[in-house]
Symmetry: C2
Subunit: 366 residues, 2 copies
């Protein structure tokens, strides 16, 4: 685990010089200054993360970490049975999932990491541009209402598996990493992490996941409150919270964030689960947060709490709550849009277009 | 003009049967019901507009209407000189504008219609997948602070030019039409239209356009208030408001909306200008509004007023205020995403994935 922690510790601030150069470049393009709004912010952000105004984002990869949760095997905290985790991993590899379609839209490779799926994953030939990494640390976590979800060693191995997966993709040429998750019960784990690290009440953090009714939601809240009680050790140490109430895929996602951030590769978060992982990473090194792009605002209430804590404003707000990296894949397309504008637009000079204000200062009416 | 008005009058409600079938289809796909949020709404909307659950959106076209405004030639209502309209049309054709890059991203053809640009447009060979239609009705409108912007005949010819442009594109195979605008001074015209048709105060409707400062904004408000005073005839008849304080490109956009809506082709609005055109079309036939997709929420305050009036909720909110169809092009990508999910995702049955609730009703915790 030491290389994961070393990587996290090595992450420094955004490159202010590159950001200023990107802003200057944008203001030379044939449009009123700032009129492309958040797409312009993305151009500046890309420069800040990578240190380059021309950083390409033409080799995106979506990495989805999957694992099961003891709490879901033992309690009714999800609208779906735990078998669905393995079934959905098979669906990812066969190309039939939502993220399969949206990774295709984003022209991204799809990498699925098994960090601890409980049921056997039906073996099938992955479809093109889809890779499967078998790195299961355990067959799901333990039931964290009675004992810690993971041992320290299990956390270390999951962190390392995620780190290696992202690092390998970057070695292969990936220049932007979008994160996704799959794990029945993982909004329960993420809610427990966020409540544990922020000290916000469990009922404020907890949502309906894939579709709980009122009674199911009350039960989920009680389960999380019980888990935090059982596991209370007076510590808000992030890796300890991760071990006690987290998940194997959540640990793997922390490792991925560490690998990408340390190599100055832009990271696109998806929804609640990936953002809970980001919260852990940023508690370990707060300098890291500005390197993360929040793709969208999930319906899960805990997601907004995390985003506020990390100082991130989500790009999209489409009432999505699926996970898998689906929101992140849509944000990849927006990032591609930003890079195309940056690279393809003419300047006022090159296109022979008059600037604003007939030579008067910006903002004055011409 | 009668065929434009006939087309508008012919537009009926969305196809409820196709929408129900689309919802059923979505609920069979491997995801929790409704978890793809607004992307699912887009799938249902596409079915409602076209009458088909399988309606393709693989031949999108962005049609940008351009024209100049007498009010901008006579008064300082924009941060840019009117010459920029012609210069930007040339930039569209040469591929150097923001919409050039984003139409490319959306894999869309780009059609630029000159409905009344004042300055000569430098002739150049349009880049591939870009077409130019010379249909200038006049060299810009008249200064509507002293007389009506257009004669009835000019309005008719601009409506017809837009209608024909969209109709021709649909004949060529376009299956979704995204609208854009270019015209220095056209937020002034759009603000006047919206204030005229909604009776909202001019200062609530009027924004800073391409970048006015406080004094410039106050002047713009005064110009619009003066224009509405001069042109007041006790009428809120939409075509009369269009003629008195509108623009040639705005009239052309009304014609495009009529052509596409009448042929049940989905229409994607961009920002404030295209939405002001939609307001005119929907005042003539309110049944038309649900056939329009509001791509994004522009920074212009009048845009939100129009969207509310039309009952449209914008898909994106990216602080954009450029026009040209840039927001609409991004929405085209979201529409493509929705169609891919609809067409590519596996069903629970085909993928062998367990449904929610182990056979219990939807929403109960499994």
């Amino acid at each position: 685990v030491s290389r994961v922690l070393d990587a996290l510790a090595s992450v420094g601030p955004l490159d202010a010089e590159a950001m200023a150069a990107a802003s200057d470049h944008l203001d030379r393009l044939t449009k009123p200054p700032g009129s492309l709004g958040r797409l312009e912010e993305l151009v500046v952000w890309l420069a800040g993360v990578t240190g380059s105004v021309e950083a390409p984002v033409d080799r995106p990869v979506v990495v989805v970490a999957a694992a099961d949760h003891g709490v879901a095997l033992a309690h009714r905290v999800s609208a779906y049975p735990s078998d669905v985790t393995a079934q959905m991993v098979a669906n990812f590899l066969a190309g039939g999932a939502a993220i399969s379609a949206l990774a295709g839209l984003a022209d991204a490779d799809l990498v699925v990491l098994d960090a601890g799926v409980a049921s056997p994953i039906p073996s099938s030939q992955p479809k093109p541009r889809t890779r499967f990494i078998r790195a299961a640390v355990a067959r799901g976590t333990r039931d964290f209402t009675v004992e810690p979800a993971m041992t320290g060693d299990e956390v270390d191995r999951a962190l390392e598996a995620g780190f290696r997966a992202a690092d390998d993709e970057i070695e292969r040429g990936a220049n932007v990493v979008a994160l996704g998750d799959m794990g029945i019960g993982n909004t329960t784990a993420a809610s427990a992490i966020v409540a544990g690290l922020t000290a916000r009440p469990v009922r404020e953090v907890t949502g309906r996941g894939t579709g709980l009714d009122d009674a199911g939601w009350e039960h989920k809240v009680a389960v999380i409150e019980g888990a935090l009680e059982v596991n209370r050790r007076g510590s808000r140490e992030p890796l300890e919270v991760l071990a006690t109430v987290g998940g194997l895929e959540i640990a793997a996602l922390v490792g991925m964030i560490a690998a990408a951030a340390a190599r100055r590769v832009p990271v696109v978060l998806d929804g609640f689960i990936t953002s809970a992982s980001a919260l852990i990473a940023c508690e370990l090194n707060p300098t890291l947060a500005p390197r993360l792009l929040a793709a969208h605002r999930s319906v899960e209430p805990g997601h907004s709490i995390v985003l506020e804590r990390l100082g991130l404003r989500p790009l999209l707000d489409l009432d999505m709550r699926l996970g898998e990296g689906t929101g992140a894949a849509l944000a990849l397309v927006m990032l591609t849009a930003a890079a195309r504008l940056r690279d393809e637009m003419a300047t006022f000079e090159s296109a022979g277009v008059s600037g604003h204000g007939r030579g008067e200062p910006a903002g004055s009416p011409g």
